[in-house]
C-alpha cells in the first residue's frame, strides 16, 4: 500500500465514532481479549468484528492468538502517520500565510484595485 493509501485507510477508519472508541479503549487498556474489548459497546459481535477488520486493514490494531484466546491491541505508530501528515500540512499553510502577509504589505492598499 502506498503512503497515501495508508493515510486514506487510517483517516477512513477513524472517521467512525465506534472505531475511534475501540482504538481509545485499546490505547488506554493495552491488549484485550476480543470479548472484553466488545463489552462496553451495545452492538452485535459481527458488527464489532467488521469494525476490527477495518481497523486491522488500516494497521491501527493487530490481533494475535494466545492459546485459545484471541487478543487485540492498538498499533499507535499508524496514528503517528496521520499526525505527521497534519503537521506537514500545518507547516505548509503557515509558510504560505507568511508570504501572503508579505505580499499584502508590499502593495499599496489605497491604490490596489482587485
Amino acid at each position: 500500500m502506498s503512503r497515501s493509501d495508508r493515510l486514506d485507510s487510517v483517516f477512513g477508519a477513524l472517521a467512525d465514532p465506534t472505531r475511534r472508541a475501540i482504538v481509545e479503549r485499546l490505547l488506554a487498556r493495552g491488549e484485550l481479549a476480543v470479548g472484553d474489548l466488545a463489552a462496553p459497546f451495545a452492538i452485535s459481535p459481527p458488527a464489532i468484528s467488521r469494525h476490527l477488520q477495518v481497523l486491522e486493514r488500516a494497521g491501527l490494531v493487530e490481533r494475535r492468538t494466545d492459546r485459545q484466546w484471541r487478543r487485540i491491541r492498538a498499533r499507535p505508530q499508524s496514528l503517528a502517520l496521520a499526525q505527521s501528515w497534519i503537521e506537514r500540512q500545518r507547516a505548509h499553510w503557515t509558510a504560505a500565510l507568511d508570504r501572503l502577509e508579505a505580499v499584502l504589505a508590499a502593495e499599496t492598499p489605497q491604490r490596489r484595485k482587485t
Binding site: A15, V23, P76, Q89, R90, A96, L97, R99
Partner: protein, 148 residues
C-alpha cells in the same frame, strides 16, 4: 495537540475584501501560494463553485509538488471552501481533505481562519465533526509515557 482538525488563525493587516481577492484572483493567488522561495510554474485555477483548481509548486531546490481540488463554495468576501489533495509523481491524487477559509473583519484587518478536515469523505466529516482528537490525545499520552 488537542485539535479536532487542523485549524489555523491569523490576523492579517488588510481588509477582508483584499485578503479574499488574494485567495480568489489567480494572478494574486500565485504570488503567495506556497512557502517562501516557491514559484508556481503550472497552474489552472477555475475559481467558481464546482470549478477545478490545480497548482504545481516548485521549491528553490527544483522539487515540484502538485496539489489540486474543486471549489465547493465561494462567498465573497467571507468564506471559501475547496477540496485539497496532493498528487504523487504519477498524477495520482492522494488523501483528500476539505479546506474552509473564513475572512472576518477585525480590528487591524482581517481574522483569517483556515480549517482543514482530515476525514476521508464529506459524509463522514458531517457525521463525525467532533473528530478524533481524543484518539490523538491518547496517542500523545502514550508516547510521552515512552510506550510503544
Amino acid at each position: 495537540m488537542s485539535d479536532k482538525e487542523l485549524r489555523l488563525e491569523r490576523l492579517i493587516a488588510a481588509p477582508p475584501d483584499r485578503v479574499f481577492a488574494h485567495w480568489t484572483d489567480p494572478a494574486l493567488l500565485i504570488k503567495w501560494w506556497g512557502p517562501e522561495g516557491t514559484d508556481i510554474p503550472v497552474h489552472a485555477l477555475d475559481i467558481r463553485p464546482g470549478g477545478k483548481w490545480r497548482t504545481t509548486m516548485r521549491s528553490r531546490d527544483g522539487k515540484q509538488n502538485t496539489v489540486s481540488g474543486v471549489y465547493r463554495a465561494i462567498e465573497k468576501p467571507r468564506r471559501l471552501v475547496f477540496t485539497w489533495g496532493w498528487e504523487d509523481e504519477h498524477g495520482q491524487r492522494g488523501h483528500e481533505t476539505e479546506v474552509t477559509v473564513t475572512f472576518e473583519a477585525a480590528p487591524g484587518g482581517t481574522r483569517l481562519v483556515i480549517l482543514q478536515r482530515e476525514f476521508a469523505t464529506v459524509e463522514s466529516r458531517e457525521q463525525h465533526a467532533r473528530g478524533w482528537a481524543s484518539t490523538l490525545n491518547c496517542l500523545a499520552q502514550l508516547l510521552s509515557e515512552g510506550g510503544k
